[in-house]
Amino acid sequence: MRIGVFICHCGSNIGGTVDCAQVAHDAQSLPEVVYAINLMYSCAEPGQAAIEEAIKEYQLTGVVVASCSPRMHEPTFRRTVERAGLNRYMFEMANIREHVSWIGKDKEANTNKANELVAMAVEKLRRNRPLHAQSFDVNKRVLVIGGGVAGIQAALDCADGNIPVVLVEREATIGGKMAKLDKTFPTVDCSACILGPKMVDVAQHPNITLHAFSEIESISGYVGNFTVTIRKKSTYVDWTKCTGCGACTEKCPNKKTPDAFNEFTGPTTAISIAFPQAIPKRAVINPDYCRQLQKGKCGVCAKICPTGAIKYEMEDEVITEEVGAIVAATGYDLMDWTVYQEYGGGRYPDVITSLQYERLLSASGPTGGHVKRPSDGREPKNVVFIQCVGSRDKSIGRPYCSGFCCMYTAKQAVLTKEHIPDAQSFVFYMDIRASGKLYDEFIRRTIEEYGTEYIRGRVSKIYPDGKGSYTVCGVDTLMGKAITVSADLVVLAVGIEGSKDASKLAEKLRISYDKYGFFMESHPKLKPVQTNTAGVFLAGVCQGTKDIPSSVSQGSAAASKVLTLFSADKLQNDPQISAVDIKRCVGCGKCVQTCPFGAIQLTEIRGQEKAQVIDTVCQGCGLCSSTCPQGAIQLAHSTDNQILAEVHALCQR
């Protein structure tokens, strides 16, 4: 073998604390190395050209680049060696940036460590074999999980690109959080009016199959060929017959059913349609409050229904869908703000969340758009808004900014004035974060034209003053004094977290999530919609806090990733997968149990049980290889021999 070694300075990133010329010099004495040199930027065009030229000039058959993390540029350099005529797997990378120069200041120690990593890479490369990808068919259908505005956008864009879409929504209607909003900032246009047409498009699009009131049960398979089972939860209403006329909801005798769509600001009926523009506009029975299902007598809705759609005996149904890509768009939920006992911890009826306030402002809400206090129905005159309730608060383990609260609070202050002209709004804030297009202008209008009083400081306590209002105690940090404000209604801008059960879905999707339930993107800057599982993309707040324009953008971005993926008829698999040496395999089945992807099965070969790897399912994680007691199952490109050679190279020095 003829090996070339290239040591990258990465400008001063590596060159500042590693003697790259020395590393290159030392590499020349490593076995089978015929050429070694240091380059300023090996990933840049001149750097890549230098590698290509050296391959030709010195007839190199393998290349080591010592630079950054392979997660950054391994694909780049594999393409480089491929252009020069080598197999892309005759390449190894030594990470002397993240693992060396960025974490140590001692130049001599860093140079030593870089030398060791290069020696290890050379030893591994000496045992590399050319690998070749296999191609397989792509199922050009996409699953979108979550029917909020991000999911809707992703579904519509894919569908318009002629891709069949399966859209799964947990609630009875699509629309997500945006459907609950009265107006949107900074234009103060009606949320339902701008979202409504998109929801109708979803319902009418020939390429979209909508499963509302359904949840993902399981996901198996791999990019291009996922199999998904979906639990269609029982609605107790046959949706093929239901016309959404609403006669049942008028006659239902149980009018005290908690209304999740209205954020529990008012009751609904046991059989209900979420809101007038619901898609699908179909009735659902809440079995916990239905008299027929609880006590076995009532049956009013069944009697009144003109189409005979009520089915009290309906059960959940599990269906299977085959897709080639998945977009997760599961959105968010509010964090549990009742931990703030100083704000009443949920005990005071007129201390509400901003999402509840949206429902009180909304014409389709429980008060018909007239702002009334939950406690006594009185119209509030003094409304206090408190920002960052559960955001940027390390004391309750929520260090992050929820991103959109500054803006919707300003919007709600404006709406308060429009609903109640003689009302006065107060906003307690930490900082005003209004960096979007036309956002800061909107904040200024809120303050200057709508007379909203902004008070920079935190609130320490809210309590009923015994006269029917609330005393809000806080601090004005600009004035440097404690202040109290009398409030008729207090609106808390509650921080957000990943949607309920997001972590369970992440495990089904085999993607990472953080401790707040947000899904992890592949790269925080350069791969914001991809995940580390091929074929799974992210859209909307499930990936991190964002407002409507950003969610819509990411929905479209995820759709474009799906369309790009589906632009090829066949996909190539990664050949770095496991293979079984059937002479050594004793058929114990430990690998079958340990494989997280179900990629290994036992088959009978000449009368004996043997393990067999399904190439397209294997993800190359290597768990089987470390589990196998016989060493019979080996991961191509990371064989036991290769790893031992690396260890040997390190320990021998």
């Binding site: 006992q341 100083e342 009443g344 911890g345 005990r347 306590k461 309590y463 003053d465 015994g466």
Partner: protein, 297 residues
């Protein structure tokens, strides 16, 4: 059951009624509170406001005595003593700080000290609302009580370990067990003005006034407290608070042990009611009427 007890200085002076009623209630329940020998003042506010090491040394001397007596749990009634003793134990875990404090003492202190608990917490833990309710002879039916903890019992949360620092509920459990109508008193952990009653009288009057005003608006028959200093500010200085709020309060301020004692059927004079500045007579008469009509029904 015998318990090691740190009475604190107030118990022998300004809060004698707290001490009398605490002893009476514990005796009724079968608890004996035995003073640790040769105890000294915890240093109170003056010591910790000026010198943390001195304040700690004063507390450590007491903890050291308790340790030598093999005490497992030390009880005290006063939240300020409780706070100082618990903080001292916590601070002594820092070796450098321990060394400096030991220099102030005659001899180095024990390596480990017993933890200190409030009498309120121990009554709740040992007996609990159910057993306490079982001991009630004269339920306080119809009496509206506003529990007020003051700022010290629950803070700092990680030292005091007394439920949610903004919303402790131990006293509510005890008062409800007595049959009283326990109010959800929002200002229960607000500051009464504490020792600023002397240097900043008007501020204390305003802070205490806020508490008395809300209790009055909530139609409480009495504020129920657990701290000698809170009691003093709210009771002895109630006239000052009235002036500050431009009104005239008549709000009895009882120790929770006085309330428990009443419910256990002990006579008010055995509970130090004669020491109160704001007369609890109307409350006692309301109670007697309620109990009479309750008994007749």
């Amino acid at each position: 059951m015998k318990f090691a007890y740190y009475p604190g200085c107030s118990a022998h002076g300004s809060s004698a009624d707290y001490e009398i009623s605490t002893q009476a209630v514990c005796r009724t329940l079968g608890m004996e509170l035995a003073d640790i020998p040769d105890w000294n003042c915890c240093g109170s506010t003056p010591a910790h406001a000026i010198d943390t090491e001195l304040s700690t040394a004063l507390c450590v001397r007491n903890l050291d005595i308790a340790a030598k007596e093999n005490v497992e749990k030390l009880l005290t009634s006063c939240p300020s003593c409780l706070s100082n003793l618990r903080l001292a134990r916590h601070r002594m875990q820092d070796q450098q700080f321990r060394t400096r404090v030991n220099e102030l003492l005659d001899a180095p202190a024990a390596k480990e000290f017993p933890q200190t608990y409030s009498v309120m917490e121990m009554l709740h833990e040992i007996y609990g609302p159910d057993i306490i309710a079982g001991r009630v002879h004269k339920p306080l039916t119809g009496i509206r009580l506003a529990p007020y903890y003051g700022c010290l019992m629950s803070r700092p949360a990680e030292i005091m370990n007394f439920g949610d620092p903004e919303n402790p509920t131990v006293m509510e459990d005890l008062l409800t067990a007595c049959g009283a109508d326990t109010l959800d008193f929002p200002l229960k952990t607000e500051c009464c003005g504490a020792s600023f009653g002397i240097p900043e009288r008007s501020m204390t009057a305003r802070l205490s006034g806020k508490i008395l005003e809300l209790a009055t608006r909530m139609q409480a028959d009495a504020l129920v407290v657990a701290c000698p200093l809170c009691q003093m500010n709210l009771d002895l200085r109630q006239e000052q608070a009235s002036k500050a709020m431009n009104t005239s309060f008549h709000m009895p301020v009882l120790y929770f042990t006085q309330v428990l004692g009443l419910a256990f059927g002990l006579p008010p004079e055995a509970l130090g009611f004669n020491k109160l500045c704001v007369d609890a007579g109307p409350l006692l008469r309301k109670l007697a009427t309620a109990q009479k009509s309750g008994g007749a029904a």
